[in-house]
């Protein structure tokens, strides 16, 4: 009995009834709060769908790049030959192209200009191997393995190629976050105001409850539940809209993307995950919104 009690079914039923009654009583505020949650969660949903798919694209890009292995410039031809053999025999390697240090220098001169011609006297570069992993997902693993071999100077992959995408990704994520946070607070504020109206409307009832010895949690639970309903009601439309549209998008586009780098996330677990998240956020906004009012207006 100390600290907590298991709630009786009868009490829970009473709280549920009270909270549902309040929704009807402030129908306009209920409508406004639910709409705010709906708009917020719709945006959250769209945002998540886009971000998650772009993230996966970034992953794919990262994995699809070749590995560049630069040998120790001091290594002699024999050592380079041994290294090449080692690289070719590394498990998971599908393709190795050998570029000599002279070919590498020519490439550099092409992109950076003739000033580099002076290096032709004594080439400071090492030979390079361009390695592709059989399974793009394993690129990082293969690179790590090769880096442990003797006479490797540098092992790099994905250089610069995905940075641009990440920049775009980060920026849109930040903008999206700010927008969503602002909407989140609007929704919470509206819910908190709806609950406040309920608390005011039920002032006499609350006063008597406290007078005759109802516990604080008994007094508060209906208001918290009301917040939960507002959040859940607000989550319904976004959940349905996101589910249906993603499913449509997926079944329309995925077949055409068969051999592309860009793949849509599989509909089945993804839609469920997004729905779970939206529902959770709805409940969270609701509970938080009502806590703000309950804390302020139902002081012990």
């Amino acid at each position: 009995m100390k600290g907590y009690t298991i709630m009786k079914a009868r009490t829970m039923g009473r709280h549920l009834r009270e909270s549902l009654k309040s929704l009807g009583r402030n129908s306009w505020m209920t409508f406004a709060s639910v709409s705010a949650v709906t708009v917020t969660l719709l945006l959250v949903g769209v945002f998540i769908v886009i971000m998650m798919n772009l993230n996966q694209l970034a992953d794919n890009l990262e994995n699809d790049v070749e590995i560049k292995v630069i040998t120790e410039p001091a290594a002699d031809a024999e050592a380079v030959k041994i290294l090449e053999k080692q690289v070719r025999e590394t498990s998971g390697v599908s393709e190795v192209i050998h570029a000599t240090k002279d070919e590498e220098l020519d490439k550099m001169i092409k992109s950076f200009g003739d000033e580099l011609n002076l290096y032709k006297q004594s080439n400071p570069l090492g030979d390079a191997f361009y390695v592709k992993a059989a399974d793009p997902q394993k690129t990082a693993e293969v690179a790590e393995e090769i880096a442990t071999y003797d006479n490797t100077d540098q092992v790099v992959y994905g250089e610069g190629k995905i940075e641009k995408l990440f920049n775009v990704l980060n920026m849109s994520r930040n903008i999206g976050m700010v927008l969503i946070l602002a909407l989140l607070f609007t929704a919470m504020f509206l819910i908190s105001n709806t609950i406040r109206l309920t608390i005011v409307a039920r002032g006499r009832e609350i006063e008597i409850m406290k007078l005759v010895g109802a516990t604080n949690s008994f007094v508060r639970i209906p208001f918290v539940l009301e917040g939960v309903w507002l959040g859940v009601l607000g989550a319904i439309i976004p959940m349905v809209v996101i589910s249906v549209s993603y499913y449509e998008l997926y079944s329309q586009w995925q077949p055409r993307l068969q051999n592309e780098l860009f793949q849509l996330l599989n509909a089945t677990p993804f839609i469920l995950q997004v729905n779970g998240l939206l529902l959770f956020m709805g409940v969270f906004i609701g509970v938080w919104g009502s806590f703000m009012s309950v804390r302020k207006f139902l002081r012990a």
Binding site: R204, I208, L211, N216
Partner: protein, 228 residues
């Protein structure tokens, strides 16, 4: 039963409404608290059910020290105290029966116990016939009887009342007093703030006179000798 020791109460606006109150009230006593308006009677009453906390001093009710009682435990204190007000504080959308039952529902009493206790107490205050009527269909005296029924339905050891007859005509006031006498006869301690001279001087009980936040007189079988 009730003990106050050097109780001092200063409201945030600076008003001192209790200025060193020492009093002891035994189980089963009936006590009138009288005194001019603004004397601190309501404050005295409010401190007993922890609506207000004293700034200094101890208040012990039924073995519970209110000065050290944690906020979380206040509901359990209130379950041992019945409170009656001048303005009845009934819920207009609930009928007589529901208004009384409400007090038990919110402390999670079982439905069977609620039925039994509510019917008993409605019989005690003589409202069995009007159990299905709503507050706005009742006279002031009847409404106050509902409020008294609600305050005693959980069988508290103390009933405190702040001017319970303040809104009632003389005849009705006598009826209400009869009910308090009955409750007191069952062994319940009663503390009642009142301005009703006639009642205090006719139904003789202990009289505590409060003035300027202090007890200026405390007599068994006392009389009311204040104007106002």
């Amino acid at each position: 039963m009730i003990m106050m020791k050097d109780v001092y109460k200063k409201y945030p606006n600076g008003v001192v409404a209790a200025n060193g109150i020492n009093v002891e009230i035994a189980r089963g006593e009936f006590v009138y608290v009288v005194g001019p308006s603004g004397a601190g009677k309501s404050t005295f009453i409010k401190m007993m059910y922890r609506e207000e906390s004293p700034t200094k001093g101890d208040i012990i009710i039924n073995g519970i020290n209110l000065a050290t009682l944690r906020n979380k435990r206040v509901p359990y204190l209130r379950r041992q105290i019945g409170v009656v007000f001048q303005d009845f504080k009934l819920l207009p959308k609930l009928n007589v029966y529901e208004n009384v039952a409400f007090a038990l529902e919110v402390i999670e009493e079982s439905p069977k116990q609620i039925r039994k206790k509510v019917n008993d107490v409605l019989a005690l205050v003589g409202l069995t016939q009007k159990a299905r009527m709503f507050p706005n269909e009742l006279s002031g005296g009847e409404q106050q009887r509902v409020s008294i029924a609600r305050s005693i339905v959980n069988v508290p050891k103390v009933v405190i009342a702040d001017e319970p007859t303040g809104n009632l005509d003389p005849d009705t006031s006598w009826e209400i007093m009869k009910i308090f006498e009955q409750i007191n006869a069952r062994g319940t301690t009663i503390v009642m703030a009142t301005h009703n001279k006639e009642i205090v001087n006719t139904i003789r009980h202990r009289v505590i006179v409060v003035d300027g936040g202090m007890i200026t007189r405390d007599e068994y079988e006392g009389v009311y000798d204040y104007e106002g």
